[in-house]
Symmetry: C2
Subunit: 358 residues, 2 copies
C-alpha cells in the first residue's frame, strides 16, 4: 500500500483492505499510525457514522433508530513481527503478520461500516488497541471505564479468527498454585527431613488421570482441561527440599461460574495448599438470542464452542450474547507463518453483509 499517509479505500475488495492494513506495522503499544489511518478513512468514506476516539481506539456507530444494535469489535494491534512483514500474496493465500490475528476481521468490519448507512440493525464498530498484551492495557478496559455505552448492544461479534465459523461463548480460565512444604535436611541423612517435591506426586497423578468434562450448551460442545503449566522446587543438589510449587491451569466450560470452578479445583486437590492466582470467567454462548440466531442462519453452518478465552467474555459480562466470527485459522495466530486463504475473508464479508445489510 503506497498511500499509507492518505486513506484506505473502504469500498475496495476486503482482501485488498486486509493487505493494506497488514502493511501498516502496529505492534501492541504502537497503534498510532493505524488508528489515525482507520479514523481518517472512516471519516472520508462513511460520513454517516458517528465517530470518536479513545486513545488508539477508533469507535464508530450508526444511529438509525433500529430495534437492535450489533457491536462488531476488532483489535488493531499485532504480536511483534517475525520476518513476516509486509504482506505477501501467493495465489489464493495472503501471508504476513496480522493476516489471521486479526486484520482480515478488521478489513471486513471497515467494509461493512462503509456500506452501513441503511443497515438492518444499528451497528457499532470498535477498533481497539493493545489486545495482545496484559489485560489492564487492553483498549476495551479503558473504553469500558470511559465510554461503556459504545460497547453495549444486543449481540457482540468479535471478529477474531474462527475459520469462518461462528464460535460461541468462551471457556473460563483459572490458574492455581498447589504448594507442598516439608523440612530441609542433608540428603545423606534424608530421614531427618521431609521432601516437598515427593509430596507433589499424588497431585501429578490426579492430573494424569483427570477426565475433563465436555458439556454441550446451546448445541455447542465445550472441552474442559486441567493442565500443569509449571513446576518448581529445590534448594541445592544435596538438600532435601522444603518447598515445591505446581501451577495448574484449568479451562472450564461456561456453565460453571468462577466460584464453582474454584470449588471443583479445591475438591480435586483436597489436602493440598491451593492458592488461586488468576482467573477469568467464561461466557455462555447465548445463541438463543434472536440476533444471534440471525447470525447463525446467515453463516449457514453449525456454531461451535469457543474454547480459548477471548474478549467475547468482556461483552458477555456486560450482559450480551457474544460470539467470535472472523476469517483465518486461529491456530496460526502468533506464528511466523501466519496466513489466510483470501476466500475466508470474502466468505466472512458475505455472511455479515447478509446478516447486517440485506
Amino acid at each position: 500500500m503506497s498511500g499509507v499517509s492518505d486513506t484506505l479505500d473502504l469500498f475496495a475488495d476486503p482482501i485488498d483492505l486486509t493487505a493494506a492494513l497488514v502493511d501498516v506495522r502496529s505492534v501492541s503499544g504502537e497503534e498510532d499510525e493505524i488508528a489515525d489511518l482507520v479514523e481518517r478513512s472512516l471519516r472520508r468514506h462513511a460520513p454517516h457514522l458517528e465517530i470518536t476516539r479513545s486513545g488508539n481506539a477508533v469507535l464508530a456507530r450508526t444511529n438509525l433508530g433500529k430495534q437492535r444494535r450489533i457491536v462488531l469489535a476488532g483489535h488493531l494491534d499485532t504480536v511483534p513481527v517475525n520476518r513476516n512483514f509486509p504482506s505477501r500474496r501467493e495465489g489464493d493465500v495472503l501471508h504476513g503478520c496480522g493476516t489471521v490475528d486479526m486484520k482480515g476481521g478488521d478489513a471486513v468490519m471497515l467494509a461493512i461500516a462503509a456500506l452501513s448507512q441503511n443497515a438492518r440493525h444499528d451497528l457499532t464498530f470498535v477498533f481497539y488497541d493493545c489486545e495482545e498484551i496484559e489485560a489492564e492495557r487492553n483498549g476495551l478496559t479503558r473504553i469500558e471505564r470511559e465510554l461503556v455505552e459504545w460497547l453495549q448492544g444486543d449481540l457482540a461479534i468479535v471478529c477474531e479468527p474462527s475459520g469462518g465459523t461462528v464460535e460461541a461463548g468462551c471457556q473460563g480460565t483459572m490458574r492455581i498454585e498447589v504448594r507442598t512444604t516439608g523440612k530441609r535436611a542433608h540428603t545423606a541423612r534424608a530421614w531427618m527431613g521431609e521432601n516437598a517435591i515427593h509430596g507433589l506426586g499424588e497431585a501429578l497423578s490426579k492430573l494424569a488421570a483427570y477426565e475433563p468434562r465436555q458439556p454441550e450448551i446451546d448445541g455447542c460442545r465445550y472441552h474442559e482441561g486441567l493442565q500443569a503449566v509449571k513446576i518448581s522446587g529445590g534448594v541445592a543438589g544435596n538438600v532435601v527440599p522444603d518447598e515445591a510449587v505446581l501451577t495448574v491451569n484449568h479451562r472450564f466450560a461456561p456453565d460453571r461460574s468462577v466460584a464453582q470452578a474454584e470449588a471443583h479445583l479445591r475438591e480435586v486437590f483436597a489436602g493440598y495448599d491451593v492458592t488461586v492466582t488468576d482467573f477469568s470467567g467464561g461466557a455462555l454462548p447465548g445463541l438463543t438470542a434472536p440476533a444471534a440466531q440471525e447470525l447463525v442462519q446467515a453463516a449457514g453452518g453449525t456454531p461451535v464452542a469457543k474454547l480459548g478465552w477471548t474478549d467475547v467474555a468482556r461483552f458477555a459480562a456486560l450482559g450480551m450474547p457474544a460470539v467470535n466470527f472472523g476469517p483465518g485459522d486461529p491456530t496460526l495466530a502468533h506464528t511466523q507463518q501466519e496466513n489466510v486463504p483470501v476466500s475466508q475473508i470474502t466468505g466472512c464479508f458475505d455472511v455479515l453483509k447478509r446478516f447486517l445489510l440485506s
Copy 2:
C-alpha cells in the same frame, strides 16, 4: 592469639591451639597466612619431620622405618565467616567459624606432630587447602597429582568432625536427571498436546514409596537415600509443557559400586529418560585392617558408618582403609552457631596419643 605472625606453640593445650587456629581467618582460597603459620610452627617445634609445601598445603612426615604408615589429614580452610569470628570461649565450649569444621582436628594433628619423634607408626600429616569448594580446587586433588606418595599409607584418618567417634568409610553419591518430553499445545486445546510435567507423577510416586537399604558392613550400619533435589518444567501459563526435568540425588552404601548404583537407578526409573550428571564412589569402612582395628580399640567406642561423602573416599580410592575421626558435631558444620565442647578436643587428642604415640 596475639602472635599470629610468629609461630604457634605446638606443645600447648590443643584447646588453645584450636582457638589460635580459629583466630586466623582462612576462608577457602585465602589460606596463605594459616599455611605459612602452620609450616613455620612445624619447622620450629617438630624439626624431626620432613616438611614440604604444595601451594597452600603443608605436608609433614616421620621417617622412622616403621612397618606401617598412618596418614592424618585436615583441611585448613573454612566456609565464609558469618558473624562468628574470632573464637569465643564460653565455659567449656569454644565458639567460632572453624571450631567444628575443622580446626579442632587440625590442632590435634599439630599437637601429635610435635610429639611424633618416637611414634609407634610412621606418620604423615596433610594440612590442605580449598576443601569447602569445588572438588577440582581441593588441595588433595593437586597433591594426588603431584605428590601422591605423601597420601599413601596403611590407614588414613581424616580428622573431620565425627563427634569423637570413629566414622568408617563413606557412602557414595550420584545425581541423575529424569527427563520427560511431551508436545506443546494451548491449554484451551490440551488434548492436542502431551503434558511432560504430568509424566513425572509416576517418578515422584516411586520416590515417595522408595524403601532405602540399610546394609551393615564391618559392623557399621549405612543408610541409603533417594531424594528429589530439584524439579522444573513449564513454558507459559497457557501452554501444555513439552519438557520437565526431575533431579534426584542417590546416596548409596559402599557395598555398591558406582556402576551398580547407576544400574539400580535405571531399574527404579525404568521407562524414563535417565542421565547421570555426577557421582562419587563410596568408601568401604576397611575396619578389618590391623591399623584400623588399633584405632577402634584406642577410641574405645563402636565405630559407625559415615553417611555423607568426605575426602575419606579419596584415600579409599588409593586402596587404603580410611576413617573420619575428629572433635565436634558434624551437623553444626557451616552454621553460624558452630561450636565445640572443648572436652571433645582433649578426648580426640588422647585417643590419637594412645593409638600413635604410646
